[in-house]
Structure formats: structure tokens, C-alpha cells
């Protein structure tokens, strides 16, 4: 992913290289076949995401603006880049990360000493202080199924928070199979290690999710996905609601992990089990409250902490009516 990023976010031009090195690396070759063009565009993986190049005057009200950034540089200053060199740099970078990884493993989990990790009671996992923090998130809306909602993500005032804004439209797409529509979501990218290996977060020390947000009164849903090693897990997630108050005051939302309910393929399941915190892969926010109109959510940071006053393990018990097999 770093390779992709470096390649696309920088000012590189991809030439249609007939060099054998490209052909001999099918792994990279397949990825860049689509990008052999002279225009520079944001990666397709984040269709709705935009980082505006200009600061808007109206601070939180960006909902009327459609800002899609195209990093198009003038033809004069496009530097020539050698494909091989970029690949070599990327390989070196990955090996460096692998080395750091191995060294860190000797120090302790994730490079911190065991003492620190065990005594840790609060941790900021994502904070929004610059464009590189925005790159860790993917923004989607129901445009992917043919709807009309739009959503954008940009840095808010003074680079102190991120603003997720857009317009929700619950007009169903005319594709013959969708009856309802209208959702916008922001999901964090899965953490990657060297050579783009999937990593996961280990939050077993903590028991509450902490968010510092400023919304506009709309109800959001916070989703947590566990590690997707098993293919059946790709539709499973744990969710809970986040009600924003609206208004100019920052709101601290604390959601204990015991409150998250299990859902598969978008439906709450009868058999509920608590969220296990040792292999968390991503956290996301969804807005789908069936009300058409503009929305915004300003996020300062997202962290996890241990609330010693919270002793509940799981908030939902299974009922014998819905799950007789669990009670045999």
C-alpha cells in the first residue's frame, strides 16, 4: 500500500514501460495496469474522499461544496520517474519495516515495553492533525449501489479535526433489487505491516471506546470489524449507536465495548456474543437515518480507554425463544 501511495500521491508519471522487470512482477504489474496514464488522480479506492486544497470560509458548513481534488500538475514540472527505482525503494522500505518489526518484537508488543503496555489505560488510536491522518480512512456512500448520497472528508479548521460532510439522499436506485437506500460511511483502513500484511489492533486492555466529536444532531452508528482472516467474517460486524447532540460544543462519546451488538450482512442476529477485543481490524461510522439532507460530523480523535467503573461484560442476553439451541 505504501508503494501505491507513494506512486499515486507523488508526482510520478507511469510510462508504459516495456521493461521486463515489470512483466516479471505480476503482483505489481496487475496493480498498475490501470494507472498507466498521464493524468494524476486520487486512488480509486476512495471514490468519495476529497481533500480540499483550499480552505473554505464557512467553517463547518461545507455541505454545499463539492470538492474533489485532482492533483493535476502543470506539464512543465512533472519529474521523470524510473519505474524500477520506485520499486526498489519500495522493497527497501518494506524490508526496513520488517526489520523494525522484528526488533520491536524483542522490545515488547508493538515496540513498547511490556510494562508500558500493561499499565496503559488510555490510548489515542486515530487523531486528525494532518492529511496523512485522513489517508487512513476510506469514505463510501450509496453511490456504489447507484444512490445519490455524497460524502466527503477533509481537515477542519486549523488542522485540529476532520470534517466528514455530505448530503444524504434516500432515493432508492432503480436497479430492480434495492428497495431502500441512503447511507454514508467512513471506515478505517486495515492496519498493514511490512509487505502489506494485515495486522490488527489489540485492545484487550481497554473496555470503552472514546470519541470526541461534534455532530449536527443526527444519529450515527459505530461499527467495529474483527480480523477478517476467515472469509465468513467479512460481513460480520459489531455496532452501536452514537447520538450526536449538535451545537457548537464538543461532545465526548464513550461507548463501552460490551454494548456492541453483533450483526451479519446488515441484520442483527439472534445469537449475540460479546465483542472480543484482541483482533480488531477496523472501526467505522455510518449514517443512515432515512432523513434526506446535508450532514456533517467533526471528529477530533478516537481513542480507547479503561473505565474501571464499567464492569458489564455483555449487555444483551440471548433469549430461549429466539435461540432454543443455545439453551439445551
Amino acid at each position: 500500500m505504501a508503494f501505491v501511495h507513494k506512486f499515486l500521491n507523488g508526482t510520478y508519471i507511469l510510462r508504459k514501460c516495456p521493461k521486463p522487470s515489470v512483466a516479471s512482477c505480476p503482483f505489481w504489474g496487475t496493480r498498475f495496469a490501470d494507472y498507466c496514464s498521464n493524468s494524476l488522480q486520487k486512488p480509486v479506492a476512495a471514490p468519495g474522499k476529497a481533500s480540499s486544497q483550499r480552505k473554505s470560509g464557512g467553517n463547518l458548513e461545507g455541505h454545499q461544496q463539492r470538492e474533489v481534488a485532482l492533483d493535476i500538475t502543470s506539464p512543465g514540472d512533472k519529474p521523470e520517474v524510473i519505474f524500477d527505482k520506485a520499486i526498489k525503494e519500495e522493497i527497501k522500505d518494506h524490508f526496513r519495516r520488517l526489520k523494525n518489526d522484528i526488533v520491536n518484537h524483542w522490545v515488547g508488543p508493538e515496540g513498547h515495553s511490556l510494562h508500558e503496555v500493561l499499565m496503559e489505560q488510555a490510548k489515542v488510536v486515530w487523531q486528525f492533525r494532518g492529511k496523512e491522518d485522513l489517508d487512513k480512512w476510506i469514505v463510501t456512500s450509496d453511490k456504489t449501489i447507484g444512490g445519490r448520497s455524497e460524502v466527503f472528508l477533509k481537515m477542519a479548521k486549523n488542522n485540529q479535526s476532520a470534517l466528514l460532510y455530505g448530503t444524504l439522499s434516500s432515493e432508492a436506485p432503480q436497479d430492480g433489487e434495492s428497495g431502500r437506500s441512503g447511507y454514508c460511511a467512513m471506515v478505517s483502513k486495515i492496519p498493514r505491516g511490512p509487505f502489506e500484511r494485515k495486522r490488527s489492533y489489540d485492545w484487550s486492555q481497554f473496555n470503552t471506546l472514546y470519541l470526541r466529536v461534534r455532530g449536527d444532531g443526527r444519529p450515527w452508528m459505530v461499527n467495529i470489524r474483527e480480523d477478517t482472516d476467515i472469509i465468513q467474517r467479512k460481513d460480520q460486524m459489531y455496532s452501536y449507536f452514537m447520538f450526536t447532540r449538535g451545537g457548537p460544543y464538543w461532545q465526548e462519546v464513550k461507548i463501552p465495548f460490551s454494548k456492541f451488538f453483533f450483526s451479519n450482512q446488515g441484520r442483527i442476529r439472534d445469537a449475540q456474543y460479546q465483542l472480543l477485543l484482541d483482533r480488531i481490524s477496523s472501526v467505522g461510522f455510518t449514517l443512515a437515518d432515512k432523513v434526506d439532507g446535508p450532514f456533517f460530523l467533526e471528529i477530533d480523535f478516537i481513542g480507547v480507554f479503561t473505565d474501571p467503573a464499567h464492569t458489564e461484560e455483555f449487555a444483551y442476553e440471548n433469549s430461549p425463544e429466539l435461540n432454543p439451541r443455545l439453551f439445551k
Binding site: 488510555a122 486549523n158 472514546y210 447520538f243 457548537p248 460544543y249 434526506d292 446535508p294
Partner: protein, 414 residues
Amino acid sequence: MSWAQAILLARGLTRGWGGICSTALTGAPFSQVPPLAPRGLRCSAAAHNPDSSLVPRPPEPPRGPVKALAPHEELFRQAPDGERDKASFVQAVQNFTQYNVHKRGHVDFIYLALRKMREYGVERDLAVYNLLLDIFPKEVFRPRNVFHSIFLHYPRQQECGIAVLEQMENHGVMPNKETEFLLIQIFGRKSYPMLKFVRMKLWFTRFKNINPFPVPRDLPQDPVDLASLALRHMEPDLSARVTIYQMPLSKDSTDAVDPTEPHIVGIQSPDQQAALALHNPARPIFVEGPFSLWLRDKCVYYHILRADLLSPEERRRKALSSPYAWQVPMTRPRWPSGSRACRRPTQPWPRSRWSSACQGPPGSSWRPPQGWRNHPHPHPRARKKRKTISSNSSRARAEPEWSQEHRLWTGVKA
């Protein structure tokens, strides 16, 4: 067998078999979708009246240059002077049951009625949903032996029942005992609609009161009331006062017919009032806005009045001179990212003012919003709800009030 007898036989079979037989008879390809009308039979039976629709037909798609009516849509077409409300909806439903004793085409009728509920404004009325469920013939679709219960007995009807419950779920209507009794009578206890009902009962009760900032279901129609509700919703300080100002009528009498005057509604807590009193007039006060606030499905816009934070020296001087000299000026409370263990956070009170006060690293140009202000424009999307409100009635104006420092009243972080 004469041709008429064949038609009657086909219709009878169609009722029982969901149209499979009819399509087979006409030679049309067998399909899983609801059956198309046996057109061949219809064309030849000259005596057949298209309006009485003895064979259930799926409603035509509404898009298209010629809008074909759904089979029972004429029941929902009422007199031009009639208004669409609960009574006329109930009347239409009762007409269906009255003119159609055997309830032919009830599935299509129920789907149509579900679509029309929003027009008639009854989508949140439980009694109407029970009435719709009442249309189903009772005791017919209950499974009677183990084979019925293994295979989905009367699948279209079960799907229709689930669709009714799903619409109830979408609008947040909680079913009651009457719904349960109807579902048991119609589908039996082991059916999918009953399962969905049990799930609704469980999850609705679990999530009924999880909103820490509840908004009343019936929002006030008057924009001034809505504005004051919005302001009180935003402001955590309960001792804040809402003030409604009245603007003088504008000089131009082009809208002379409109008697309402523009209003400005503002809210200010005593803390903010005191801070404003202490504010140095040499420092500027900023008006920011409009920001949007959603209350259920209505959007209001508001502006705020705020001022900059003092520089650290001034803050220290001020803190020492104030009666709350024991307060330590705080930098922004932040969770340390990564390794350092953090102290356990105490619960500051009041919470939001604590957070709003300590904002921005010193020296940055980020200012905390310190004032409230409101009254916003009615949201343009709310225009359809504004029929009785004229365009002049409320305009957003900035209100000069407002405080600078909340910090004097914030809790100390341990």
C-alpha cells in the same frame, strides 16, 4: 368443457396455486415472480370486466409515459375535495374488504396500501397497521402438519406479512398485543412474521431509551418554538435562558398580507452572560455561522457569537485575580497517543463546557466557540412544512451577546 368453464377453472386454480397453473395453461414461461395476468384468457373473455380484477395482478411499475394504475388503486382515489388522512385511508381499506368478501388480491392490495401510507400520513399509526394485518384471511395460512412447517407455507403471504412488519420497524412503531394475536391467528406461532415480531419486541425494548439527547416525536410547527427547542437542546447548561426578540416590520409593504414578524431567538447561560460583562471591548467578538442542527427530520440553522481566548499571560493574571484563583489554567486535555500511560480521567462537570473551554494549543488560531446564538433560517427543505409560515417570519440574525471564557467554570481534571 366450454371455454367459459375452462376460464372459471383456470381462475379457481390460479387462486389456489398462486398463478402457476394459469401461466402454464397460457403457455407462458413458468416464473417465480408473481404471475402476470393470463392475457390470452382476458382477451377472449369479452364479458370479463377489467376493473373487477378477479385474478390478482401485480401493480404496474409507476414510471413510464402512461401511468397504469395498480389493481386496487381506484379504491384510494377519492373525491377531489377529500383530504388524505387516516379516515379516508381506513375507508379505502374497508371498501376493499366490503367489495371483496373473499379478499382476492389481498397481497397486492396490502403492498399498495403500504406504499400509500406515507401520502395519507398514517405511517406511524399502529391501529392502521393492525387494520392492514386484519385484511389477511385468518386460519388459512397456518401450517397444519409438519410438512407445512418445513416448507414455507404460503410464501407470498408470509413475505407480505413480513413487509408490513418491516415498514413498522422502519418507522419505529412498536407492535402490541393485538398485532401478536393477529399474527398468530393468520400465520401461526412458528411462522416468519411471528419470528420477526418477537425480534422487534426484543430489540425495540432494548433500544428504546438509548438516546442521551432525546428529541420529542412531535416537533412544534411554529418556527419560533422549534428554534427555542433547538437552542435548549444544544445548550447543556440548564440555567440558560431563551430570549425571543421581535424585529420591527420591514418598511416595504409588498408582503402586507403577511402578518408575522421576523423573530430572533437566542440563548445565553448566566456564565456566558458574566463572561461577556467582563469582556474587554477592545477585543473583537466574532459571529460564526450558520451551522445546521437536525432535530429528527427538521433542520435549523444557528449562529454563534464568540471571542478569542486570552493569551496565557493574560489568562494567568485573570485567574489569579478572579475568585476562582484555585483554578489552574489548563492546556488542552489530550489523550497521549502511544506509549505513555495516562491517568484515569475523572468525570468533569459540566462536561461539555470543560471540553469547550480548553481548546487549541496556545498560540494557535483555533478559538473555541463560546457563544450561542441562534435563530436560524428554517431549513429550505422544511419548506414543505412551512405552508402557514411566510417567508418573512424568521430570518437568521447574529445576536450580540456572548462570552469569552468558559474556563472559569470548568472542572479540574485530576
